[in-house]
Symmetry: C2
Subunit: 353 residues, 2 copies
Amino acid sequence: MKHASFLLATLSVFALSLSAAKAESDLLKDARDYFEPVPHAIPSLPDNPVTQEKIELGRMLFFDPRISSSGLLSCNTCHNLGMGGDDNLETSIGHGWQKGPRNAPTVLNAIFNEAQFWDGRAADLKAQAKGPVQAGVEMASTPERVEATLNSMPEYVERFTRAFADNDGPAISFDKMARAIEAYEATLITPASKFDLFLEGNEAALSEQEKEGLTLFMDTGCASCHGGVNVGGEGYYPFGVIEKPGSEILPVEDKGRFAVTQTADEEYVFRAAPLRNIELTAPYFHSGKVWELKQAVGIMASSQLGADLSEEQIDAIVAFLRTLTGERPSVDYPILPISTSGTPKPDLMQPVK
Amino acid sequence: MKHASFLLATLSVFALSLSAAKAESDLLKDARDYFEPVPHAIPSLPDNPVTQEKIELGRMLFFDPRISSSGLLSCNTCHNLGMGGDDNLETSIGHGWQKGPRNAPTVLNAIFNEAQFWDGRAADLKAQAKGPVQAGVEMASTPERVEATLNSMPEYVERFTRAFADNDGPAISFDKMARAIEAYEATLITPASKFDLFLEGNEAALSEQEKEGLTLFMDTGCASCHGGVNVGGEGYYPFGVIEKPGSEILPVEDKGRFAVTQTADEEYVFRAAPLRNIELTAPYFHSGKVWELKQAVGIMASSQLGADLSEEQIDAIVAFLRTLTGERPSVDYPILPISTSGTPKPDLMQPVK
């Protein structure tokens, strides 16, 4: 009798937890179809082994303003790790106080994007890292100048030699600089957001409103473009599938991926923005013209999906989007090698207009 | 017999070490008359208690670019803690890419200076901290804008409240911002240089050449102006006591302390530069026109002392100056509070020429 009642009790608890698990698991199951959590471990790169030496070297390079010709701008200037891995400006300010053409994307979790830049023109982060260094409107430097700068400091020569021990050729090269920066950037991931806890099975990590937002995010169609680990960053879509936003938000002159592919049907096509840590990276869109997450969601709903969401629905989606803020990596600010008499002098020349 | 010879040996070793100690100790004794080592402990500030809360808040403020009206420039932009606590530029670049009038002094050990800025116009670091924030050529902000910015972020309100718990008035003020930054800057000290080890009694810490340089530094007269903890930073002296350097190094229009005191005999008077970590902070002088330490020493010797030093003597002084490089503080790069919709938007306007 005692045994029988124990068995009964056990069975009913089992049945209860099964049904509780089942009640929640539809949402979780759906979410797992669309999304993946940010991993806790540093991802490996197929063609660029992420070693401790390379990470440390990359961290120094990421913070070294002497990579720019002015000696003033580092990667961190526009991809500020103390902020959201970006600069919170509409579009970035570069050499000579020039205004860049697009909003700086976050470097946090960028390693999980299918390709880099708003138009995906760089296949990976090591290709990306070479862009701003050479862009006249950003760091305004050249591979030759960067190599001369790094070669002028014995500590860099030594660190490159150690980080690329299995590599032929000169100790320092522009390409190795980019590889070291990519290795460091692979460490800039933000796991353990509330949404990650949810995806990992802790369903209580999201509030009712946040769950409602997640449901809406999937049911309305947002997740069709914003999926995967980065809740975006994976495919290319026209801005304004249903209805183009005004030119104050979608400037006519920036035709997006068209500039890369020269294919007419890629006019105003952009990579779907990765939405991880989105509450940290205002203002929004490639134009950086929208400062409020709520407004951004409203614009996306109408222009991309033709959906007319209520105030409450938008609030719920915004609440869900705020659960995408993860644990930011702690950063030791690097002590950089000392310039020598061989280090190229800063070139502050205003660009020719 | 055995005992006697042991005693004799002991006595002669004792006598030898006495004479060795004596041979060295004149130099050490002289040096201790002029200089003091950088302390290992964070100095206390008479009117601004250095608490952990205040240090952490100050570190955030030091690295927060939203203190500037552009949202791009932080204290660390010109006082880069990864470099020598300065920017390694002739003169700094500020808002709108304007070129500042003077070379950025290092923030490292600045707490030990008698007064701040090249002309000593700020009595202490909390007065100094208010200057660049408001200077149109630097951060181009206002106390009101800074207060509105900080008040817009709940985490700052909370941190200010904790850091200034014993304080009346509003949680956040421009003055409290400056006090927090001063408290953080009090931690930016670099003890344990080779010269500090020497001053602390480890005479083997300096090589023969470095000792020769130290001797010359005192005997030629350099130490008369460059003394104390910071090997300078303590008094005001005309640049060109004996012979004014050319206007390429001493620009005619910058009359130094004259602008502060309006006293005719303070034309071209500047605070003696603190020489701690001098090898990290090229280029040199308030004009930032000299990139080589060797050249700087030569100019100082002839213009200030009328001394015609030999190549070897200058090399020895430079070797000594390189022993002034201490252990730089390790810096956790701060994770900054998130901007809100109330945070003033970046103002990137080019200054009116």
